[in-house]
């Protein structure tokens, strides 16, 4: 059945139809029907994606060209989809995880009013559509359409409970920070157009590889383009300096956090860079910058996560940190490792978020872990799946996180001063284990610290919620198997699969296999130690006020406040200055001033008309003398 590639347009189209039906019919459809449509469309896409994946695995890649989106002069931007190894893999992740989260949502959001329920599912479907567009696009413009589209959906979903002003502000923040990155992305696209005359991936990469006559990138071009693209990625994938929106984005419903702000959208930056690996590999500078930013983000977010008390905030910072890891990998040239981590991270982070959703659901909306504790008895499924997620993210073998994280850690040796990167990354991995297990222990162990009412209400979530948890837990366990490195006698399936798209990295500072294995063992042991330490500290958690450095961490290094002080406020004040002073007093003042001058002139000039005949004659005579002088003595 090769012809499934002919109908790939259905993959995004079906969710789009779901969006339209749910969006327009939200007042008329029942909740069940809305849920069915919402899930069904994504399921359909998922099935198609599997089908596509099978085809791709057999080596059939395809570029589907539908119509010219924009065609001006020589510049032709087709509306085209590119189905290859990379996109098919992402299709699976998106539709697969997306489907699970849809299912989960039917239960999680069941208390909403019908039209809001419909609105929610239509947004989710629209998101799936946009995300699919992003990964399927055969050129940067289609990718950008998806890119902004997911930003929009993120905005809509963060602000889903629109009565809450704080949530809306968080939504705005997310959108605007994304837009900053988007601008860079756009400029990169324009730069590409200047040099290539088109935006199709194939054309761009061909030029980059020097396969096209008369068209080439200079090294400076490459660096500028890749840097701009990377800035775009920092916005979408929440890297320094544009990461602060992601924790705030937790204002949205928890499944949204799981889907958008953990599993899929935030990995768009990784996808984009992996997609552009041809370009990136040409710019050493950018690669280094990417690696440093990634590592710094990972470390920073991890430290902040240590002291967060909101269950979702911890996960959010963990996401930021993990994304940092992925960028570290990209910067090290280990694109496959990054993609691999995207996949595993999608599993376990979705799992963790959905787990936290289950907890919040059970706690009646409570998110502060200081008010939880001892939930493991009541929420058995949730607890166990959450535990699996924690193990996976902490990187304990043989769960999925171990393999992907290890691939990243090892890749750092490709960099100059690789050992420094390795040590810091390793430290971050330990921190990850620490805060995740702190979260686990504080939430599920010890005694219950909530209200009596909450205690009374505690119950395991319905099957629609636990089933996705179980599936994801399973995937978290086995997901790593596709990427077992050769060191461990695996065959690195994923690396091989992606090799047509991502050329294997030449290891500059190859390290011996034995060292590699030794490092794996060391880090695993250290992780276990850290977990033990966390158990000792948090098995019977009692809240106490943070002081000193802890307080700095709890307040996220005061980065938000800093941004507010050095960017937002000055701009705000400057806008006010322009509005109240420059525009009204200066620019309009000049215009009105011209009028006023004329009016003043009029008032003064009319005094010349004094009413006195003598003065009239005098002025006439003066005028005559003046003109005589001009005529006879000046302009002879």
């Amino acid at each position: 059945m090769k012809n499934v590639l002919q109908i790939v347009y259905l993959i995004p189209l079906i969710p789009l139809i779901g969006f339209l039906i749910n969006g327009l019919g939200r007042k008329y459809l029942s909740k069940t029907l809305i849920g069915l449509i919402g899930c069904g469309t994504v399921l359909a896409s998922f099935i198609l994606s599997i089908w596509v994946f099978i085809q791709v695995k057999e080596g059939n890649v395809h570029t589907a060209h539908y119509f010219n989106f924009i065609s001006v002069g020589d510049l032709k931007i087709p509306f085209a989809f590119k189905i290859d190894q990379l996109s098919s893999l992402f299709l699976l992740i998106i539709t697969g995880v997306g489907f699970l989260i849809h299912v989960y949502s039917t239960a999680y959001m069941h208390n909403e009013k019908t039209d809001h329920y419909g609105r929610y599912f239509s947004y989710l479907n629209l998101f799936i559509f946009s995300m699919l567009l992003l990964v399927m696009g055969a050129n940067y413009v289609i990718m950008f359409i998806g890119w902004e589209g997911v930003g929009l959906c993120s905005y809509l979903l963060i602000g889903y409970w629109f009565k809450n002003t704080e949530y809306n502000k968080a939504a705005n923040k997310a959108f605007i920070m994304n837009r900053i990155g988007d601008l860079a992305f756009l400029i990169a696209i324009f730069w590409i157009i200047v040099r290539v005359g088109g935006v199709n991936f194939d054309d761009v990469f061909a030029v980059a590889k020097g396969e096209v006559q008369n068209r080439r990138f200079t090294p400076a071009d490459i660096t500028i383009i890749t840097m701009l693209l990377f800035i775009g990625a920092t916005g979408k994938s929440a890297q320094i300096p544009l990461y602060t929106w992601l924790p705030d984005a937790m204002a949205g419903p928890t499944p949204v956090s799981a889907l958008i702000h953990a599993a899929t959208m935030v990995t768009a930056g990784i996808y984009m860079i992996a997609r552009s690996n041809v370009l990136y590999s040409l710019s050493h500078t950018t690669m280094t910058v990417v690696a440093i930013v990634g590592l710094a983000t990972a470390l920073l977010a991890a430290t902040i996560a240590l002291k967060q008390n909101d269950i979702k905030k911890v996960l959010a910072y963990s996401t930021v940190s993990q994304l940092g890891f992925m960028f570290l990998a990209l910067g090290s040239g280990a694109y496959v490792a990054a993609v691999f981590h995207v996949m595993t991270h999608a599993f376990f982070k979705a799992l963790l978020f959905l787990g936290s959703g289950s907890v919040i659901h059970a706690m009646g909306g409570e998110q502060d872990i200081r008010n939880m504790g001892g939930l493991s008895k009541k929420l058995k499924t949730t607890y166990w799946t959450f535990l699996i997620g924690c193990i996976a993210i902490a990187g304990i073998p043989p769960l999925s996180g171990f393999f992907s994280k290890d691939a990243i850690l090892i890749s750092t040796f490709n960099l100059k001063f690789g050992i420094v990167f390795y040590v810091i990354a390793g430290l971050t991995a330990l921190l990850t284990a620490y805060y995740m297990f702190r979260l686990l222990f504080v939430t599920f162990n010890g005694s219950f610290r909530g209200t009596e009412e909450q205690k009374h209400h505690l119950h395991e979530s319905p099957i629609a919620m636990t089933l996705p948890l179980i599936v994801l837990a399973f995937l978290s366990v086995v997901g790593g198997l596709v990427g077992i490195p050769e060191v461990l006698k695996g065959n690195d399936l994923i690396g091989k699969f992606l090799s047509p798209v991502i050329s294997p990295v030449k290891h500059a500072h190859d390290i011996a296999h034995s060292t590699e294995i030794l490092l794996m063992i060391i880090i695993s042991v250290l992780v276990l130690v850290v977990i033990g330490f966390a158990w000792a500290r948090f098995k019977n958690y009692r809240h106490k006020e943070e002081t000193g450095f802890g307080k700095v961490l709890e307040n996220k290094w005061y980065v938000d406040e800093l941004y507010e002080k050095i960017i937002v406020q000055p701009l705000h004040n400057f806008g006010g200055f322009l509005k109240n002073v420059i525009d009204t007093k200066v620019v309009d003042g000049l215009v009105n001033g011209a009028g006023r001058v004329i009016n003043y002139g009029s008032r003064q000039l009319r005094l010349l008309q004094s009413g006195q005949v003598g003065i009239y004659v005098l002025l006439m005579i003066v005028g005559m003398v003046f003109f005589f002088v001009i005529q006879f003595f000046i302009r002879k």
Partner: protein
């Protein structure tokens, strides 16, 4: 020639009609008949029929330009009478005499547009101004009217003195009073200083008559003080006629010296536009504003003098004369109906008298030079003529900026009429004649603005 004699005769007829006829309406009918006759005989002459064969010894010459303008002047007078003849009753008791004076003025108008000799110019101007002194002062119990009359008289005779000195100097140079004395100047020959000085004095005197700065001082006071019905007359028909005389004089007598006086004329234009427009801005009385606006309009008309001798200037001044006269007569006619000459007097007129307000808008738009009114095209011709000389671009730009200023004060009237609410208006009584007249004027303004060939084609055939 027809019009010259008939108008003088009509003046005499009107003089006696006041004695013979007791009813004002009868006098009025005679006047209407007279002006129509005047129009007819002038048309006859345009068709080539000259009723009176008089040996004029090359002192007077009628050409198309003159005849077309005279027709405009008579036509405008007709409309003027249509709109204001009734209101003249309010001025004073000498009803028939006013008409007589109007006809005498028209006689002067014919003279100043057709002179070939400076003597005729001088006589013509005097025949125009002496009746105007009287008409200005005709509201005898009104001190403002008295004052205006005396000011006009003193300043007017002073300017006559200036003009005569100019004529004398020119005579000293050329030995006769013909306007063709210096029709051309050989290359490289410096003009006689006598001639140049005489020319400048003539320039000043004519500038006085057309109220160009700095010889304009009489205008606001006289226009303001004179009875509104007569302000309308002297601000339009008379002024336009003097303009024609001005241009004729400078074309015939001093055309060869154009490069010599062009700069001074440019300065006068700039000053006229500046003072006329800027001063009008702050006026609180619409009547006085219109007086200043007539100064600014004169500034524009002077472009025809500035450009001189081009087709654009010729056609333009004809069109301008028509457009300006019609619009100003119209707006004065509306003003005349309102007791209150302040801007507030116009408040809410659109609700009380939509017809008056609507036509007034047309007049004001035309004065402001908004397209599809005759006012625009006439200004356009002037600018085109000025640009055609290829000199003094700054002057043109200055002129259009000043035109924008003029929009300010003209539109204040529109604002008052349409955008403001009235305080209890004094009821306005308007006869059917009057209304028809207004609509006719508005129609003519738009017609000339859309299709000026209607008028201009008379200049050629």
């Amino acid at each position: 020639m027809n019009a010259l004699i008939i108008s003088a005769v009509l003046g005499v007829v009107m003089m006696f009609s006041g004695i013979v006829l007791k009813q004002n309406s009868a006098v009025r009918s005679v006047a209407f008949a007279g002006i129509i006759i005047l129009l007819l005989v002038n048309s006859l002459e345009m068709c080539g029929t000259v009723l009176f064969k008089v040996d004029i010894n090359n002192l007077i010459a009628f050409n198309r330009f003159t005849l077309v303008f005279n027709s405009i002047a008579f036509g405008a007078t007709f409309i003027y009478l249509l709109l204001t003849a009734e209101d003249m009753e309010k001025v004073g008791k000498s009803y028939a005499e006013y008409f007589a004076l109007v006809f005498f003025v028209l006689c002067g108008v014919v003279l100043v547009t057709s002179f070939k000799s400076l003597l005729i110019l001088f006589l013509g101007i005097e025949i125009i101004t002496i009746p105007l002194y009287i008409l200005t002062g005709s509201d005898k119990r009104n001190l403002r009217s008295n004052e205006a009359s005396l000011k006009y008289f003193l300043l007017g005779s002073f300017s006559t003195g200036i003009m005569l000195m100019g004529i004398a100097l020119i005579y000293g140079h050329q030995g006769n009073f013909s306007t063709e004395g210096v029709s051309f100047l050989p290359e490289g020959v410096k003009p006689s200083v006598l001639l140049v000085a005489g020319m400048l004095l003539m320039l000043f005197a004519m500038a006085f008559k057309v109220s160009a700065v700095p010889f304009h001082f009489w205008t606001p006071d006289v226009y303001d003080g004179a009875p509104t019905v007569f302000t309308s007359f002297m601000a339009t028909i008379v002024k336009a006629a003097v303009f024609i005389a001005f241009i004729r004089l400078f074309e015939d007598s001093f055309g060869a010296l154009q490069s010599g006086w062009q700069f001074i004329v440019a300065l006068i234009i700039a000053a006229t536009l500046l003072v006329g427009n800027i001063t009008a801005v702050f006026q609180q009385s619409v009547k006085r504003m219109l007086a200043y606006s007539s100064i600014s309009q004169a500034g524009f008309m002077l472009f025809a003098l500035f450009a001189l001798n081009t087709v654009d200037a010729k056609e333009g001044i004809i069109l301008y004369a028509a457009a300006y006269s019609l619009a100003t007569i119209g707006i004065f006619a509306v003003l005349n109906k309102l007791g209150d000459y302040s801007y507030e007097g116009f408040n809410g007129l659109s609700k009380e008298q939509p017809l008056l307000a609507g036509t007034a808008v047309v007049f004001l738009l035309s004065l402001a030079g908004i397209p599809l009114t005759a006012g625009f095209l006439s200004k356009f011709y002037m600018l085109k003529a000025a640009l055609g000389t290829g000199k003094y671009l700054w002057l043109v730009i200055f002129a259009v900026l000043m035109a924008a200023v003029s929009v300010y004060y003209y539109f204040r009237v529109i604002q008052a009429m349409y955008f403001k609410d009235s305080k209890a208006q004094v009821p306005v009584s308007a006869s059917a004649y009057y209304k028809v007249g207004l609509v006719l004027v508005a129609f003519l303004i738009i017609l000339l603005g859309v299709y000026p060939e209607v008028l201009l084609s008379w200049l050629y055939f």
